[in-house]
């Protein structure tokens, strides 16, 4: 009897201890300090800040997002990640993921991304952009390709059909410019940067058959690059004022305020163009894939786990949980409800009935079509931002007229590319 009582007591004690430990484990907060995030302004992230309490409940800590515009975010994150490492989570993009990954500034995401959050649900194109050297490095916040967005009323008034080829686009743009009425044929990006003017120039370069490298030998100094640049500069004559030294904000801003007839830009613009909160041209806009043979510029931005600020495994898990939660289906649904088209990345959301109800069949069709011509136009290498930014400066000089020799600019870039190759 005694032994029975002892066994029963021990058993009860074990069950009690085990249940207390389990409860303690279940409630053990994943995060011990607020997650610090360095990002660029995104509507989706702003919306996320409304749910801070939810993340605190989930992880035990809050989060803080510091915003900088794209170029500044790139510069600051590069400086921070390579030196002090103040941020647990970095906003990275297709252009710098190779640099961040190969420099060891971020860690592979899959190791710390909880399986429940279903990474495989992300759009396959965006997963591809987030992958470098066979590993996934970030969870997408935005991404896609290019669409040609045009003003139906302006084209109709001019008796012009939406251009289907690049030659038609080049011919139509000057005809659509009517500066007296404040309408410009097109809006391009003039501001320096691999993600700015170079990003919009690259589809022309690729359309004319250009390629960046042949093995280790620079191959971009070609007729294709000269022709692409000539075309870009020609189109710039009809680009809206303010875009010569502007980028995405300036060119899309010009379109959304009704000054531009045709714009070939990244897909988030299409969602903004049909949203009365951001657009003055709602109901007047049509969508098509970029005029052939322009390829769309495939891109993706997302959140990655910083190496230095997350010194131990627990910190990395916390950062991973934040990224998973921030890009979760629940939060993506909130972004859909808030009509944040450019912030949608999951196939389950993009193919949902709610999505079709909000954005209509035309846009869905155009997105499906443009997916077929979306390509990676940049040099997928850690040295790309360096090379791309250098070309961005030269291109800005050409656009603003501080230099006129296209071939001289390309020769200069080739010499620089040779230096980069030698350093490898």
């Amino acid at each position: 009897m005694k032994s029975y009582r002892l066994a029963a007591s021990l058993g009860a004690a074990f069950v009690l201890t085990a249940s207390v430990s389990t409860a303690a484990l279940a409630q053990a907060p994943v995060c011990s300090a607020p997650v610090k995030v360095l990002a660029q302004p995104r509507d989706g992230l702003t919306l996320l800040e409304d749910s801070k309490d939810e993340f605190k409940k989930l992880s035990g800590a809050s989060f803080q997002i510091d915003y900088l515009n794209e170029n500044d975010r790139r510069a600051k994150s590069r400086a921070d990640a390579s030196t002090v490492g103040n941020y647990n989570v970095y906003y990275v993009d297709e252009a710098n993921v190779a640099l961040f990954a190969s420099s060891g500034w971020i860690v592979p995401l899959a190791d710390y991304y909880p399986a429940d959050y279903d990474y495989a649900d992300f759009d396959p194109g965006r997963q591809k952009v987030a992958t470098y050297d066979g590993k996934v490095w970030f969870a997408p916040l935005t991404g896609g390709g290019d669409l040609m967005v045009y003003r139906k009323d302006v084209l109709e008034a001019a008796g012009i059909q939406p251009p289907k080829t690049l030659d038609e686009l080049i011919a139509d743009v000057p005809k659509l410019t009517n500066a007296d009425k404040g309408i410009y044929g097109i809006a391009l990006r003039g501001a320096r940067g691999s993600g700015a003017n170079v990003w919009r120039w690259m589809p022309f370069f690729k359309a004319y058959g250009g390629k960046w490298f042949d093995g280790d030998k620079p191959a971009f100094n070609s007729d294709a690059a000269v022709k692409a640049t000539e075309t870009y500069l020609k189109l710039f004559k009809d680009s809206a004022p303010g875009t010569q030294t502007g980028s995405w904000d300036e060119s899309t801003g010009a379109f959304l305020s009704g000054q531009v007839a045709i714009l070939v830009e990244s897909t988030p613009l299409s969602g903004m163009a049909v949203d009365p909160k951001t657009s003055q041209v709602v109901g007047k806009v049509g969508f098509l894939p970029p005029p052939s043979p322009l390829p769309g510029g495939g891109y993706g931005h997302g959140l990655a786990i910083g190496t230095k600020a997350n010194a131990d495994d627990a910190a990395k898990k916390c950062a991973g949980l934040f990224i998973a939660w921030a890009t979760s289906k629940e939060n993506e649904k909130r972004r859909l409800d808030a009509h944040q088209f450019g912030e949608l990345n999951r196939t389950s959301v993009l193919s949902s009935k709610e999505f079709a109800d909000i954005y209509g069949a035309d846009l869905g069709q155009a997105l499906a079509e443009t997916g077929k011509v979306t390509a990676v136009n940049f040099w997928q290498d850690p040295r790309w931002p360096d090379l791309g930014d250098r070309w961005g400066i030269i291109l800005e000089e050409l656009v603003t007229g501080t230099r006129t020799d296209i071939k001289g600019g390309l020769n200069e870039l080739e010499a620089y590319a040779n230096e980069l190759v030698k350093k490898k």
Partner: protein, 288 residues
């Protein structure tokens, strides 16, 4: 025997030691880095000695940045002093005491604005379609577009005008207060001699204020060297490289484009040496 007090030493030595550490450590570190080939993306490095400095002199952007920096210094310092003296004298001559106080308050506001805020405000003011600063041009020309920040010939002057707006107006207040401190007798004597107003200032008041005005000019020269934030926000060195000053280019090389921190440090070191030599020579010339 007279005992020397140790009080000055007690107060001076710790302060000087802290100043020495604060100024010398970063300076020496910058010099050391400039002699290496450090890059942000590569943990390893080696000593390249003066190779970075040699490379700078065949770098067209560096040579352009030197020229832009010189232009920037001359334009901002001269324009600030002209505006400051012109407005200071005008207020002294025209405005009564209450109106002067009102103007002083008004003219101090721009310099109290954070540099970055001022840059954003003026960047928008210069917008070719919506900007208030470009509105008169659109009105006069019947809607023609003028985009001062994207034209190589006007971008530097457009940014410099913001610098002058902040500092020229503030210095005007200082010039006015300096004029008010002058003894009235020489001015009255000049008036009795039928000197015109401009002659009184050209030959009496301003020569009397030579020393403080030179000090103001030196302050502005140093301040103009630190205009990175203004240029960065308004043009990022563009269009092309038309407003790319040395500090802008050094930052660009170090953190925006290539992560070449050693190359950027070499520029910073050269800038420091050039500044020290130039200021020493100017100071000696002024004192002579």
């Amino acid at each position: 025997m007279r005992r020397r007090s140790s009080l000055p030493v007690t107060f001076l030595v710790p302060t000087l030691a802290i100043l020495l550490v604060l100024s010398m450590v970063p300076t020496l570190y910058a010099i050391v880095i400039a002699l290496q080939n450090r890059e942000l993306s590569a943990p390893g490095y080696s000593w390249v000695w003066f190779s970075n400095f040699a490379d700078l002199f065949s770098d067209r952007r560096f040579l352009n940045a030197v020229w832009v920096s010189v232009k920037w210094e001359i334009v901002t310092v001269v324009a600030t002093m002209v505006v400051a003296i012109g407005l200071g004298v005008l207020m002294f001559e025209v405005a009564g005491p209450r109106l002067r106080n009102f103007y002083c308050l008004l003219f101090i506001i721009p310099v109290l604005l954070p540099r970055v805020s001022a840059a954003f405000v003026w960047k928008f003011a210069y917008h070719p379609l919506y900007g208030i600063a470009t509105y008169p041009y659109r009105l006069i020309t019947g809607g023609l577009i003028f985009d001062p920040l994207s034209k190589p010939g006007s971008a530097l002057f457009a940014v410099a005008s913001v610098d002058v707006w902040q500092w020229g107006l503030f210095f005007a207040v200082i010039v006015l207060k300096l004029l008010e401190t002058l003894p009235p007798q020489p001015i009255e004597a000049a008036r009795l001699d039928h000197a015109k107003r401009w002659q009184i200032h050209a030959y009496v008041t301003l020569p009397m204020l030579k020393a403080p005005l030179i000090s103001l000019m030196f302050v502005k020269m140093i301040e103009s060297l630190r205009s990175f934030d203004l240029i960065y926000v308004m043009t990022r060195g563009g269009p092309g490289v038309a407003t790319e000053t040395l500090d802008m280019y050094a930052f660009s090389q170090g953190f925006i484009e290539s992560g070449k921190v050693s190359y950027a440090s070499a520029m910073a070191v050269l800038m420091m040496i050039a500044t020290v030599i130039t200021f020493t020579m100017l100071w000696k010339r002024v004192q002579a």
